[in-house]
């Protein structure tokens, strides 16, 4: 490897798509959520559940896969009121970890974002491009986490391999 990085393709992660105003969503499931992030493209976390503010009136709830059923029961997507939308989207995303000393170099090949820590702090999370695909980008221990549409997973794995080969 000409770059000193580690590429990991994660197994399934529990992800729920939340839409509606913070008040409306909070009114339905406040108790199980971390505090709502205030700044766009940031996230908050509470006992293993991360709440990402990734669009106008749009949040992603991210947790370990084993939390999926528990969260689903609490969120009750099919019963929630008309003014909010909750959809389980765990299967729609494939997650990758790019970690190691050269992680930033590899990211610079795939992603146009300025990921300098002064601009992209630890609590940052945002959609951007990754090898030209829409991707959810955030920081993780020792590097970066990127999630792409599940059906593109093989392609991205292939490209990460090329970029670091």
């Amino acid at each position: 490897m000409s770059y000193d990085v580690q590429i990991d393709r994660l197994g399934r992660v529990a992800v729920f798509d939340l839409k509606g105003t913070a008040d409306a969503v909070g009114a339905w499931v406040k108790d199980i959520l971390p505090a709502f992030p205030v700044r766009p493209n940031t996230r908050t976390e509470k006992n293993g559940v991360a709440l990402c503010y990734i669009g106008r009136n749009h949040w992603l709830l991210r947790a370990a896969r084993d939390a999926e059923e528990r969260l689903e029961q609490r969120l009750k997507p099919t019963n929630c009121p008309a003014d909010i939308s909750i959809v389980r989207v765990s299967d729609t995303l494939t997650f990758f970890h790019v970690t190691g000393p050269d992680a930033a170099d590899v990211m610079a090949i795939a992603c146009p974002l300025d990921l300098h820590e002064t601009v992209f702090p630890p609590d940052a999370v945002t959609y951007s491009e990754f090898f030209g695909l829409k991707a959810l980008v955030t920081r993780c221990e020792g590097g970066f986490e990127c999630a792409v549409e599940q059906s593109f997973g093989d392609m991205v794995a292939d490209y990460l391999a090329r970029a670091t080969a």
Binding site: G20, V87, D114
Partner: protein, 956 residues
């Protein structure tokens, strides 16, 4: 292999590391730190090239990217063409050839062109080669043109990379001005990106003996580089050319020889908050008769070879200048042991400061060079008083000339910032900036070191422009563009014929259109035009500076982004199963790869497709319908939104029910078709065709955010949250039973166009009764995590019923037999729902929906419409090519329709087709004619359905 012209000492080369290389087959030796040019000069090689048009012998003229004369082609692993010898770093084993001559520059057969050169002035080819036609001449012209050979292979090892970067300050050029700017910004804690095209920082200081505060200037450079090295916020690259300045302060850098050995070149896309252009200045040539002879070089380049590379290219030197910069050159050459015979200065008064530098060298003021002796090597130059006269021949083996300096404004100009002509500097300099950028140092017109850095010691510039030498009896070609062989008389000819705009001159003579983009000569063309037309250079103006500043390999520009990034690919959980079972995979729209058909060993397409079709019609088949676009819509206003979005009414749907519908664009074209289901009061699920999923998503979001921001509709894309296996055929219900499900499958409890949630084969599933084949179908939707399992269980449960996987080819046949619409086939932008016999989908009840008014308007025009019909070739075994035109009587006339699809129908045991035919609805039963190149196919016009016309089966 003595390096006859190598000085005993000096230069920034490593004499402990000799390198051997080959030039035009001959072996030579140089040192690490040499360029190919400096090594050739060290070895006394004078004729290094032949010119483009006249094939005149040429030598090395410059010392950097401005080099107009000597282009070489590298052999072997690093094969590449048209490289200025002055920019090729010497390596052990390097092998280079002159381009554009055969067999060698010393003896070039193309030199014959010189004999009839007078017959091929500028633009000559516009006036001849016309009869009988251009083809007769093109092959030989094409052979003669073109410099190096085209590359034959991609690099066999190593790769290119392109990456993004972001910086507060991007500085182009690491000369004194650039280093100063970098230090200032770096010390202020800004993120700095400093890129310089050379192998070593220092810019012009590398070539000259200048001092700063009494110390050698290169000491200051070393200190600056060291300090920058220590700053974490500074990225300093050498061998990195800033070649493009784009909109919004994005600049592109090409980095050669990056730290990683497997990496050939790296392309940086840099977004800079601020840009500092410290790109220096380029010395320009003097224009006089035979100014292209080998041994005639730019003055400062001579100085560079002495100081930078420890090479003295000749022994007896004459210098010709119109400004002060030749005087330090003379001093350095003399210091290196050369005999400087004379300095010919076109200025009438030479400043004392300059004279002081050369006490022992004869200086002839108000004197110009008006002729050269020597063909492959300058032997003497003719010195003539500015006003004319006999003059005298001065023997020499080297002529250094300086026509003054051009600030290197290429990037400045690329940024769309303006230039102005500065009369004192006699050069175009940066004027007002169009983006957040500024020029500093020589690039800004500060041509001497004292203007750039405090304590810098330098001569004043003091130029008195001379755009060309005009001496009545001057003989020989005076070159304005050495690379493209453009002479003063070519420009005169262009002006004489009325090509008098500088752009006309450039195009008619090709001046400035070479690889060097006329870095040393363009200004003289502009000056010549100005003098000839009696206007100022400002009014003549420059031609546009275009990227790249210097040529860049396409490999670096493409980087790692190979076609898969351009055309991503998508997999479903069944993709691997498909491949394992011999599927032929196709592109299926929206980047999905899907099985076209599943041939058995030795089986062709048609047999396989027939087998799959028969299974669906007579038994059961299954296909992976996962790629269909799927969206969940939520909110109180979804019903009215869908009523606006679709041409038919959706709001009346009851929970659990679905309806097929059409989406139109507001100008009345068909955007997509699909099915909408009402999950409950406020939750809906809509499906779109695979290929249009993204477009429909964009369309819906745009409407909601820009037209109806108040409406409460929330859209979530769930295409990849639901995969499905669609089981279709008369035995589909049996297979469902065999799979085991808690859903009551009876037609009454679970009718067509409805869905049920439950479990299938023990997996949580949503089963939908839609049909794209015309047969009883169950679309079993599960989460992708369960898809592979479901698929295996379906194949297992279906086995007793002879279930087969169905590819897109068979699906195509099945939908054609039913006359079901396919956007790619029947919808080509000319038809509407009525033409397709789907008038029922155009709601009359709704006062307004997308496309309604436009469809009405279009139909009012009374122009004949093409309608969807079925066609049966009179010969049942005659296939009709899809897309074939229908013309009246099959005659050679304007078309009246086309065949949109034609398939072998296993149910009808014949070819059947669909067509769009003018006034087709009224022509059923008639005969229409398909016109092919080799004949006419009569077809009977029918209704567009060939199987189960009443749709009993799909409802069964």
């Amino acid at each position: 292999m003595a390096q006859s012209n190598r000085l005993a000492a000096g230069g920034r080369i490593d004499r402990s590391r000799p390198l051997t290389f080959r030039f035009n087959g001959k072996p030579y030796q140089g040192y690490d730190g040499d360029t190919l040019a400096s090594a050739l000069l060290a070895n006394g090689v004078r004729v290094t090239a032949r010119s483009f048009k006249y094939h005149r012998p040429r030598g090395i003229v410059g010392h950097g990217p401005e080099e107009p004369a000597t282009l070489v082609e590298l052999d072997g692993e690093d094969a590449s063409g048209n490289r200025p010898a002055t920019t090729v770093p010497l390596r052990e084993g390097l092998s280079a050839r002159s381009v554009n001559c055969w067999p060698s520059p010393e003896f070039d057969l193309g030199g014959i062109n010189q004999l009839f050169s007078r017959f091929i002035p500028a633009g000559f080819y516009y006036k001849t080669f016309k009869w009988p036609n251009w083809h007769l001449f093109e092959p030989s012209i094409r052979k003669a043109a073109g410099l190096a050979a085209a590359p034959k292979y991609a690099p066999s090892c190593g790769y290119f990379e392109a990456r993004h970067a972001h910086t507060d300050v991007l500085i182009a050029g690491a000369g004194p001005a650039g280093l100063l700017a970098a230090l200032e910004a770096g010390r202020a804690g800004k993120r700095v990106f400093l890129a310089d095209e050379g192998p070593e920082a220092g810019g012009g200081l590398l070539n000259r003996n200048l001092t700063i505060k009494g110390q050698p200037a290169m000491n200051w450079v070393a200190d600056a580089v060291a300090e920058l090295q220590g700053m974490a916020n500074v990225t300093h690259l050498q061998n990195a050319t800033v070649w493009a300045y784009r909109e919004h302060n994005m600049l592109i850098v090409n980095q050669r020889m990056p730290e990683q050995n497997s990496l050939l070149e790296r392309s940086w896309r840099i977004r800079a908050a601020e840009v500092v252009l410290a790109t220096g200045a380029t010395e320009r040539a003097m224009v006089f008769a035979d100014n292209d002879r080998p041994g005639i070089m730019l003055a400062t380049s001579l100085q560079a070879y002495v100081n930078h590379w420890g090479v003295l290219p000749g022994q007896q030197v004459v210098l010709f200048t119109n400004n002060n910069s030749a005087y330090p050159v003379a001093a350095d050459l003399a210091g290196a042991g050369a005999l400087v015979v004379a300095i010919l200065d076109s200025r009438v008064h030479v400043p004392d400061a300059a004279m002081k530098l050369v006490p022992d060298i004869p200086v002839h003021a108000g004197t110009v060079v008006a002729g050269v002796k020597g063909h492959k090597q300058v032997r003497a130059v003719r010195a003539v008083p500015l006003g004319g006269g006999a003059g005298a021949w001065i023997t020499c083996d080297l002529l250094g000339h300086s026509g003054g300096w051009n600030p290197t404004v290429h990037l400045w100009s690329q940024s769309r910032s303006s230039l102005k002509f500065d009369e004192t500097l006699a050069a175009f300099v940066p004027d007002s900036a169009a983006q957040r950028c500024r020029a500093v140092g020589a690039a800004a017109g500060n041509l001497t070191l004292d203007q750039i850095i405090e304590g810098g010691e330098d001569l004043p510039y003091a130029i008195d422009p001379l755009w060309r030498v005009e001496i009545a009896d001057q003989k020989g070609k005076a070159f304005l563009d050495i690379q493209n062989d453009v002479t003063v008389s070519d420009v005169y000819l262009a002006l004489r014929e009325g090509y008098d705009n500088v752009e006309h001159v450039k195009r008619y003579t090709t001046g400035g259109m070479g690889l060097d983009q006329g870095k040393t000569g363009n200004i003289n063309i502009i000056g010549t035009v100005a003098m000839q037309k009696g206007i100022s250079l400002q009014d003549v103006g420059t031609t546009t500076f275009r990227s790249p500043y210097t040529p860049v390999s396409f490999g670096a520009i493409g980087g790692l982004r190979e076609e898969t990034v351009l055309f991503p690919y998508r997999h479903t959980p069944v993709t691997q199963w498909n491949k394992d079972n011999g599927a032929v995979m196709y592109e299926a729209g929206a980047r999905w790869r899907r099985p076209g058909y599943f041939p058995k060993p030795g089986e062709g397409l048609q047999e396989a497709v027939n087998r799959e079709c028969r299974a669906v019609r007579e038994g059961v088949g299954v296909y992976d319908g996962s790629p269909l676009g799927t969206f969940e819509l939520k909110g109180r206003d979804v019903p009215k939104f869908l009523d606006f979005l679709y041409s038919n009414v959706m709001s009346s749907l009851k929970p659990g029910d679905g309806r097929y519908g059409l989406m139109l664009s507001d100008d009345g074209l068909i955007l997509d078709d699909g099915v909408a289901f009402r999950l409950d009061e406020h939750r809906w699920l809509i499906s779109t065709s695979t290929g249009h999923a993204d477009a429909v998503n964009q369309h819906m979001k745009k409407l909601l955010q820009t037209e109806f921001p108040g409406w409460q509709v929330m859209i979530t894309t769930v295409t990849s949250q639901w995969n499905n296996a669609t089981i279709c055929g008369p035995r589909a219900r049996d297979v469902m039973q065999a799979l085991g499900t808690d859903i009551n499958l009876s037609p009454k409890a679970f009718p067509f166009m409805s869905f049920r949630d439950g479990t299938v084969a023990g997996l949580p599933a949503r089963v939908v009764r839609v049909s794209f084949t015309g047969e009883l179908s169950f679309e079993v939707n599960v989460a992708p995590r369960h898809m592979a399992t479901l698929w295996d269980k379906v194949m297992e449960a279906g086995e007793p019923f002879g279930i087969l996987p169905v590819g897109s080819e068979a699906s195509h046949v099945l939908r054609v037999e039913k006359g079901f619409l396919s956007l790619g086939h029947e919808v080509d932008g000319t038809v509407d729902a009525y033409d397709l016999g789907m008038g029922w989908a155009m709601s009359q009840k709704k006062p307004d929906y997308l496309g309604k008014r436009s469809v009405q308007l279009r139909r009012q025009s009374g122009h004949p419409r093409r309608a969807l019909v079925g066609v049966l070739p009179e010969d049942p075994n005659r296939q009709i090519p899809e897309g074939a035109p229908l013309t009246p009587g099959g005659r050679r006339e304007a078309t009246e329709g086309l065949i949109t699809a034609c398939v072998w129908s296993v149910m009808n045991d014949r070819w059947v087709g669909l067509a769009l035919l003018e006034n087709g609805h009224a022509r059923q039963g008639e005969t229409a004619h398909v016109r092919l190149k080799d004949g006419v196919i009569p077809v009977r016009v029918t209704k567009p359905v060939f199987h189960d016309p009443d749709g009993k089966l799909l409802r069964s």
